[in-house]
Amino acid sequence: MISKKICMLGSFAVGKTSLVQRFVHSIFSDRYLSTLGVKISKKELDLDGTAMTMVLWDLEGKDRYTEVNVSYLNGAMGFFVVADGTRRETLDIAMELRDKALTLVPGQVPHMLLINKADRRAAWEISQDDIRDIVAMGLPVIETSAMTGNGVEYAFTELGKAMLGQ
């Protein structure tokens, strides 16, 4: 029996809550209800025969000017930074949040960058070159769509496996 704490980080309205909803309840809503503080969900999954309970901490969206609530990151055993493919600046904020998070949790804590809203790729402001640069830095990148569900299950499962390898 393994339980893991996972945090969702990212700018406003990038789809953190939507990704969790999609993963945990397989639903999507196009209504935007901004998260205040933190919203907790959980999901039990089976990773190649190992049962894992993921306790998901969906944190309130941040921009350049707001401070991360550092305590929520305490003891995180894995985290996602989420960017919105249709808004370039959310990628920069995601990378800043990642740096900030790595000062608060041990460096080997598994984490990934999710670029969300893949269903609206035509409107993306983030290019494949941007993504290649980030992958080259050693940060895994997964493109997701909370709307269609593309990549969501995969992303959480990959993070789960990475955490098991710890």
Partner: protein, 584 residues
Amino acid sequence: MDDRRELERLRALLFERELRTLDRLRDQLDALDSFSDRQRRAECVSDIIAEALAIRGRRDEKLNSALEPVVDDIVKNALRTKLPEFTEALFPLMGPSIRKSIAEAFRGMLQSFSKSMEIAFSLRGLRWRLEALRTGKPFSEVVLLHTLVYRVEQVFFIHSATGISLAHVTGEGVASQDADMVSAMLTAIQDFVQDCLASGKEGELESLQHGDHTIMVEKQASAYLACIVRGTPPTRFREQLRACLEDLSVIYFSELAAFKGDIAPFEASRPYLEALLEARYQDDKAISPRGKIILGLLGALLLCLLGYYGAGAYKYHVLKREAREALALLSREPGLLISYNAPTGNGTWEVLIFRDQFAAAPEDVLKDNGLDPASFEFEAVPYVSYQPEMVSRRLKADLKPPSTVELTLGADGILVLSGTAPVNWILEARRRADLMPGILGVDATGIYDPRMRELAEMAREVESTVVEFPSGQDVPAQQYQASLNQAVNKLVEMEQLAAGMDLSVTLTIYGHADATGTEKRNYEVSQARAKTIAAMLYAKGSSLPVLTYGLGSGYAGKTSGADQASRRIEMRVQVFRNGEMLRE
């Protein structure tokens, strides 16, 4: 007057017959009124009374209203005077329904709850019964809620940093929540409070209030307990909570310190948590004087017991603190690994400890730190630790390095040997260290044996000695005698030096000839030249193993004609250790 008389006469004349009929009728009516005739009248009414009542009853309510008070009176009167008969008559009907209603009142009540009976028949009981009907809750629950002082409904054991639920217990009949979610949320709330209010300052959230529920939190660095309590718990409950958490943090010391999400080991903490699930109900029954005496006696007995157990509890408390301190100390000691530990029940703490052969004895660690080892029963299980400190102790014990040697264990698991040591030690150390747990490789480039260098230097001198022969002869030319002598002396010296190092030296002598003469002759003479040198060596008392080869003219140099430089010998010195060649 006459007129009146006249009128009478006229009337008699006119109505004589009618008057007589009237008289007869009056007589009959008078007779009807008289007692003797009542029987007959009753008979007359009786003929028609049933029909009359029926007709009137159909017509309107008046008959009912007229009869009601009368009947009422009749029944009351009858009940007053004839109760036994009535009861007897009604019992078959009422008995079962009364029994049923009483049984209903008791159903669902907690057995231990003796007040229920009293309540079931009291006025208050009736009120609560109505409340139960209204709210749809079982009566027993309504009673419990009204008489409840406090009740610990749920206990959560939570890992502080991650908010992960380690274990969770729920009181009987309490609807339980998802422990994973509750634990995370409670932790988030505390994080929030920490971030917003107490930033930097020491201080913890101790309780949260919601309606008549309180969430009590008791916290230590690595884990905390949270209880959902209905009502107001006594202050001693906080103590209980603290003591329980202390127990758990001692027992799970190592699991908590190295927590990576595996919650299986914490399943065993449930009995500790269940001990916290308690409830108390108010009991306001008046106590009789006799009861007071009994209570007084009980109280005295209780005091005695308290004295006895109180001392025990205090001792246990002290022991627990000691245990916590000791376990913290031992877990910092390299080569010791604490496993299962618990109080034994006879005033000691039992500890299963994995101990590396080269780790300090746990008893000594405690003594050195001013703790009394007598409070602990250690059961040591041997194990091999890879902690660098242990690996180097193991190295030192096993290799016994001379003082001229420095051992450095790198973070990459490579052992670096430096300094000087006998070659035998160096070789043995390399072999053994390579096999040692915790060592991934040995770097011996920085260590050498000075005598080995000396040997090598001497060997080089011997090998560079030039000895040439006159044509066809196997005795060296005169001018080479001196250097040859010197080389032979060197070899004797080497032989002695090597013997002191547990090494052996062998010499190989190759004889050469020039290209003149027959090939057979050339082999013979080259062989003879090598042998001459060997003989010189033996003549000096050496017992070096010497191999001699005559190589003829094939390796000499010039391929034809007479040549002084080709008429020579070559010497090769080799150093061996247990048959293994160290130097070519």
